[in-house]
Amino acid sequence: MLLKIIRYIKGYIRIRITGYSTERFLNACSHKGIILWGLAPSGRAYEMNISIRGFRKLKPIIRKTGTKVSIVEKSGLPFFLHKYRKRKLFFAGALMAVSLVFLMSKYIWNINITGNLSYTDETLIRFLETCGVKNGMPVSEVDCARIVKDIRKEYDDIIWVSASIQGARLIIQIKENEDTIPEPGTEGEKEDSGKNPQENSAESSAEHPTDIVADRDCLITKLVPRSGIPLVQEGTEVKKGDVLVSGQVPVIDDAGTVIAYQYHESDADILGRTVLNYQDEMSLEYEEKEYFYQTKEQEPIEKVEYFLKIGKYRVGFGSTGNKYKDWEMYGFERQLCIGENFYLPISFGKKTVRPYRPNAGKYTEKEYQRMLSGKFQRYCKDLEKKGVEIIENNVKIYTGSQKAEAKGQLTVLMPVGTQAESQLMEIPVTEEQEETGE
């Protein structure tokens, strides 16, 4: 195969040898080092392939052996180019293709992100765009070290970043911190601390102690502290905002006076009994859509429009205009994309309009009961997922003339407490009172 390609590029000629001693001609050729291939006898003559360079050396051999050479066919790239030498646009096109490939390879065509678990590709690409790194930018302007720094600075829980360029691809590899998964109860707090990264890091926790504060009124049923000092006991009723566990542990000397505080990020499992209100209502009436059908087939009447958007310009084929009073429209739009995430400002789509006649419908008792209780069960399941235990449930369904309502109270055992920064207590003597007061 390779040999064939090389022969094609170099070009070769098929010649026909006639004369008295054609074998002598063959031997002379091989003696002179002229390579012949594809020899085939045809009658008294021979046909064979010979390279262009070999053909130029044939003259003395022909004279010596008294044979006649005629060219049967010329093939290969040199002859092809010679044949089309007057087609200037063809060569211009070939040259342009090569130069375009060369030019295009100077730009980033694809950003590939791997290793991200909690951040989506889109989030990271949008962030990179704000740093000036995007698809279509020149490769020479990409500063990998800077990308790495920017990502590390912006996202705290990305602990390792590597950016590299392979051809026209920017490859970003990421390692996220998988060890510290935030607990379900403190999830909100984690998000807050994301904005203030210093607050959450281990080194600064000693300087910024945190308390656990009740996030709702409840009766504490269980309290297992891990770090910090519990200020309430099991069985205490607390109000929203009360400190449950303090992050400042007093250091007491022999005389029983507080001389200093040790600062901790307080941590505890706290369960509280509380009452949740549940209310959900729905209208008994609904709108039923009656579509219009073509008389013969079961095809609904609808109008379709296809469109193509290039930048700001939009071309539509067909129209969705109609005389009906009520209609619904649905459709899709797809943006052209090169590779994984290089979106071009070209999109196409389809819009379908389907007219209908609105009819008033009414749910039966069974239907609305099923819908309301289904919703309530889903709500309960969500609660259970969050670690809430339902002790008592008196949610009932009430029916009115226009609407139905599920209403009631749930008595639950649920984790309570959110992290909050403690107010620092500096002076030991007065602090003792303050702390007990809190």
């Binding site: 074998e23 063959l26 031997n27 003696h31 080092g33 012949l36 291939w37 020899l39 085939a40 021979y46």
Partner: protein, 101 residues
Amino acid sequence: MRGKRQNQRQDEESHSFRNKIAELSELPKDVALGMPVLTVTGQMELCLENYRGIIEYTDSLIRIQTKTGQIRITGQKLKVVYYTNDEMKVTGRILSIEYQH
């Protein structure tokens, strides 16, 4: 007649002498003596090295001159795929390979 026989004997003697040297020097015979090397694949392909030239070539008969004599290859649709100074390849349906001195 006598001279010719003597000549032939001498030739054989020198041949065997060279053969002995070749054997002693442990060189391959094709290198030391210029013997033709034929590699035949089934009945359809023949590779030939160490020859002097083609004497006759049609699609049913190829005669090749080597240092030790002629080789006659008969067959059907014989075709020389390539022909260089030191190697040639013949394809087609090979029926016989004969040696002539």
